[in-house]
């Protein structure tokens, strides 16, 4: 038995019928084919699925799609301004804040929100703010560098 929801994702409004049990991340990936948002742990632990929902960074694997009814969502695909990368995306690439790239979209979404809330974030603030996002490749060092560099470059935009 489907429920009709209306969500604005990356500036476009979608009306879709979803199952009540459909997770937001599956709605984004399978219904809207926005596959940049990844599933890592299914338990809200790793943060690979982080998106922005009404101004908050949320883990979309522990939100139901129906909870997002009426919400405004930004995914990694909506971060760049046409061809021009968001300063946080640019910083992750320039500062080598990624290897396999699987945690990267969620990491970037969490980091942009962090810097938006705290433009002067210290290294300590960055580490505490991102502790809910796991990366198995980088040892986190270059991610911290990337976020600090984006903050300096006006990462909130």
């Amino acid at each position: 038995m489907g429920i009709t929801i209306s969500v604005e994702v990356n500036g476009t409004t979608y009306e879709r019928e979803v199952e009540p049990r459909t997770l937001l991340v599956h709605f984004l990936r399978e219904e809207l084919r926005l596959t940049g948002t990844n599933v890592g742990c299914e338990t809200s632990l790793c943060g690979a699925c982080t998106v922005h929902l009404d101004g908050l960074a949320v883990k979309s694997c522990t939100q139901l799609a129906v909870q997002a009814d009426g919400a405004k969502i930004t995914t990694i695909e909506g971060l760049a301004d046409n061809g021009s990368l968001h300063p946080m995306q640019q910083a992750f690439w320039d500062e080598h804040g990624l290897q396999c790239g699987y945690c990267t979209p969620g990491m970037i979404m969490a980091a942009t929100k962090l810097v938006e809330d705290n433009p002067d974030a210290s290294e300590d603030d960055i580490r505490h703010g991102l502790k809910g996002n796991l990366c198995r490749c980088t040892g986190y060092q270059n991610i911290v560098k990337a976020v600090a560099s984006a903050a300096k470059a006006g990462g909130a935009r």
């Binding site: 990936r29 926005l34 198995r136």
Partner: protein
Amino acid sequence: MASEPARKSAPTRDPRERTDFDGRYVGKPFRRVDGRAKVTGQTLFADDLSFPRMCFMRLVRSTVPHALIKQVDFSKASEIEGFLGSLTGADTPEPFGILPVSQDEHALCPDKVRMVGDPVAAVAAVTEDAAIEAALAVEVEYQELATIASVEEALATPEPRIHDYPKEGGNVHKAVSMEFGQVGEALAGADLVLDDLFFYEGNTHLPMEQHAAVAVPEDTDRITLYSSTQTPHYVHRALAKVLGLPPSRIRVVACSNGGGFGGKSDPFNHEIAAAKMALELGRPVKITLTREEVFYCHRGRHPVLMSMKTGFAQDGTILGQHLKTALDGGAYGSYGVASTYYTGALQTVTYKLPAYRFDGVRTFTNKAPCGPKRGHGTPQPRFGWEVQLDKAAEKLGLDPAELRLKNLEEAGRTTANWLKLGTTGLERCLRAVVEGSGWKKRRGKLPEGRGLGLACGSYLCGAGLPIYWNHMPQSGVQILLDRAGSVAVYCGEAEIGQGSDSVLAAITAEVLGVELADIRLCVADTGFTPVDLGSYSSRVTLMAGNAALEAAERARELLAQAVAEHLEIDKDRLVFSDNRVFDAGEPDTGLSFREACIAAEAKFGTLSTVGSYIPPRSPGKYRGAGVGPSPTYSYSASVIEVEVDVETGLYRPIHVWIAHDIGRSLNPVLVLGQVEGSVYMGLGEAMMEEQAYRRLPAKYSSSLVHKHPSMLEYKSPTFLEMPPVTSYLIEDPDPEGPYGAKEVGQGPLLPIMPALANAIHDAVGVRIDQVPIHPHMILRALAAKKTGRPARFGPAGFPQVDFGGTLHVPTPDQGGDGRSIDDYRHKLRSGMRSASGTMTTREEALQKHGKLTTD
């Protein structure tokens, strides 16, 4: 252009010649070529793929650890709306496995399950939800068997056998015993003999991406499989075998891996089942594993119990070692035979070890199979070795750094177990971290609860022998050039995040003088790319890099000939740079790169070159000598500073200094990323990560289950646990590597676990002889210290093991020839050419087949 045959095993020129030139990319911190796609969410991982008419598959996995399958009933499952079809073990009777000697897995178990999570059946449905429902509705009837939970239980419980095939009998999978030189004599003549027991708990890769595969049938006997795999070549082999199709009808494409670390190096049951299902249904089939299933795929670090007995002279000289290892292999072979040898093979490459005996055993247990994780089989004995050296230094009154410096192996030497070393940067690594950490001034003098620990390590730059012994290249690269000035590079290597795509692109761009953006890569596609064996054993930079270098230099030669003719100058005067080919003496005289391609295409026809790489032959010829050889070895050293709370046992690494012998950094930023990632993963293993099991209470069947197949409970370090890292790259170009480069993906992990244990000893004076190191272990050791018992926490005994007959191999110093004396006798008796278990030389084999004229 016809493809040139593979013909050599060494780079075209000594790469040292290239070390003084100012590379546009080589040696420079250029941004990774796949970076933009990864920061924008455009990278396609396997689960991101979608095809018309694609359906979804789920596996029905065993809920019991050891049982005969009595019945599989699909009657309820088939009534689920959207159900399309099902498979059982009867549909995939042919076994497979990564190693030819242990073809012991099935896509779906035909008659018996050996662990919780073994696949019993597969169902497909039009939606993923329907497939999940159908899988839950499949009813399986089991007849349970006794289970085996540990090496000790496996040795004590020969029946029921988990597998019938190993000749060792019982539940022993593999037993090896070999002695190089006279260890008994060496130990008898020693001033100090240390006899230690160590235990290294198993842990898993935990790649952020769960394995996924999509099988797309192109006909009833033609199929493409997209998968998150590090080794498309071996998946290709396994698919051909189980599906019974000619390999030429199968194409395997490795998508970008969302992390591998060795966990995606085996062909997996879900990949083969998806392909079989796709052929049966005639439509694309996708399967994406859940995180719980990833824990069952495993192939992670083996739990290893070790007994290490080493003799030292009073001045610190190492005289000999007897190492025994016992590996808990889990339910299948996987890479286990190689893993067993690897727990012994690299003990000899850091310090001179004139006499060495290694006994190893791997047993089957009813757990998820262990295999290759970053460092494959070597972190466990490396942990023991480096902790034991710390103990020896203490007993002998020597500085641990000086003890190591005194015993360093040397460049170009052949070790007691016949491993030929290349360049060795360990001395410079040691000096860098000793200097950087203030070791001499600070060690032993920090306040109670603070300490410094030191350890070293070494790793392969690619396994010297392929898994299937043959005479073909281990890596191949093809380059196509055309009149658009475009450069397409084809190679079977798989990008798993380590940056292999960037290495291929950079080498090609460097040689041809074009920009990274001018290079197009087609990688990891067995239908279109020359074979590269895969992203394992730290082999890609060296092997695919050398192949790319050869292909690019051949392409440059064609262009140079055409341009020289066009400009009417000597081709040796030509420079390839800035997208131009020009006269070194008169830079304004030249052609654009595109014009050069046009001239060459006009002169030679369609432009294509190939390059390939075969490692040099190893001097070892005894049975077992196939594991350990490498074109060269990387070295690492680390100092860790730790703070320990003696009241709670809680501890925290404060700083890590690490130096890595990289030969030459093709890209220092990529290299540092691997170093720091290795430090991180090593700290995870040392501090918290464990793939642990427990038996359920008898009223719940006494089943052996994974303690926590979830990321909620499998602890791994976050941003907060990761201390600052100071890294040093030691550069001494190695003649075997492209531009002198060595590996970096695995080596820097090795010193971390023992450096941490040694630091804890420096801080609070207790020895923790096992990892992970939990706070309660420190408290127990501190309590023991207070009551005058040994200030130690670690294993208490090593089981009685029949390692089989020992091979005796005279060392190079003894004038040996690389063979075991036992092999030699056997050969004389049987008159066999290759009784030692090694193949004839490539040249001999090719001559026999009339394919080679010697030059």
